[in-house]
Amino acid sequence: MTDGIDDPGDVLGRYEPLVDDVEAFRAACARPLPAVVRVNEIKATPDEVRAGFEEEGIAYETVDWHDGLLRLPDGDPGHSWAYVHGWVYGQEEVSAVPALVLDPEPGERVFDPCAAPGSKTTQLSALMEDTGLLVANDSNLGRLSALRSNAERCGVSNVAVTNADARNFSLKPFSEGDEDDPFDRALVDVPCSCEGTIRKNPDTLAGWTLDHVEGVAGVQKGILERAIEMTAPGGTVVYSTCTFAPEENEAVLDHALRNSDCELVEVDLPLESRPGVTEWEGEEYDPAVERARRIYPHHNDTGGFFCAKLEVTT
């Protein structure tokens, strides 16, 4: 049923208790995903990109829940005028969700602590109409060069790129005087075990270990905690991963609810999703984690995703 997937430890089997239709879930995970591009609205409108694709003979299908996403049955158009002009960005469609949930406004101060290679950064900049301050950070210098070249091609001009460990990020360079000037919003799209990307990378689960999940969960908690600290009271923090593991999702939120000044708020998604889970392998989480959203591959024929919206309190 999951032919073509390299999943020796049957990691997907671990999540069967969480899903409503095990067979559909496994079948979807084994199906490859079409290439998808997001229209870069800093440079072009969806109408213009569609006209450009038609001019170049590039086949596309529209995505019903978002006008600015196009599925490409013939693959990624890296060699097209649309790409050269920076009108499009190759991005899996569920990965467009967290920036939409964060919903930044033009002129705001926004933090993107795990930014590389830049799909969400460039999307955030477009939502901000390329105004205000977007701080895009990544701890890995190699990945940062990919972020920079993607931002350049997309014409992003409101970004400050930094190379730091997000867990002890300093606001100093972005503040006037002695007081730190907080961010209005943060998109905490953390490194994770990436099970939700299995349809893109069939060998994602080959090296999966519980040790890695637990280790990365510690990092995730640290990054989320620091992002909440640096966001102004009343501000919004979105936490997202591309994994199904509750250890990296609800458990991290539960930790933040207990240790940081924040609360979880409801999220209204334009595609089908399920609530966060409050129990997992003997652990119980704060009931508020139900407000987080789980996106499964079989519900919208996408990759898997997890997304939660937090409001910072005093």
Partner: protein, 194 residues
């Protein structure tokens, strides 16, 4: 913002290659010799390419790396140590200033001059993007040109408010026009065979 205490006052008057320093507004406020000024940058785009100075109202200009000017859509206390700030924008320093591919792709649509902005046919544009030099019958200026072609046309609504309906000439990059020849300045990593 300019009052950074003793460090700012005693800073050596030379370019510090590891940090971004905001361009002075005018030559009178310049402490690093040879550094471009905001006034000079705005004038350059207006005089050479016909870009209305109001386009830059929300922007600050910065230098990191000798003669390398960056455009940033916000402001920060100067100097600032970050990996990148906005986009690379302009090479100053030489006798002829040179816009970057990023700058021309992003802001070239505001260029209105007809002797420094050239519209290529699809076939010419394809050769330009591949990095080829080509013979060209061009009556305009020599030097660095904004090179465009029509793309994504039809009766669509433009992304830019100043654009009328209809095909929009979309900037591709910078060309150097000399002796009847248009030399592609598209950086190697951005060249494509389409």
């Amino acid at each position: 913002m300019s009052d950074d205490g003793a460090a700012g006052d005693d800073a050596p008057a030379e370019n510090q290659p590891h940090q971004f320093e905001r361009l002075p507004a005018t030559a009178a406020e310049r402490d690093v010799p040879e550094r471009a000024t905001r006034e000079g940058v705005v004038e350059f785009w207006a005089e050479r390419y016909g870009v209305d100075p109001s386009v830059w109202e929300g922007y600050t200009f910065w230098e990191k790396g000798a003669g390398k000017v960056w455009a940033f859509a916000d402001d920060l206390p100067s100097p600032v140590e970050v990996e990148a700030l906005g986009m690379t924008f302009l090479r100053t320093g030489g006798e002829h200033w040179k816009p970057t591919t990023d700058a021309v792709q992003r802001f070239g649509r505001h260029a209105t001059a007809d002797d420094t902005v050239i519209d290529l046919s699809r076939e010419q544009a394809t050769r330009f993007l591949a990095g080829e030099d080509q013979e060209l019958d061009w009556d305009g200026d020599w030097g660095y040109l904004v090179v465009r072609h029509e793309y994504g046309g039809g009766s669509v609504t433009g992304a830019v408010p100043d654009r009328a309906d209809g095909p929009r000439p979309e900037p591709i990059g910078v060309g150097l026009f000399l002796h009847g020849e248009l030399r592609s300045q598209v950086p190697k990593g951005r060249r494509r065979e389409l």
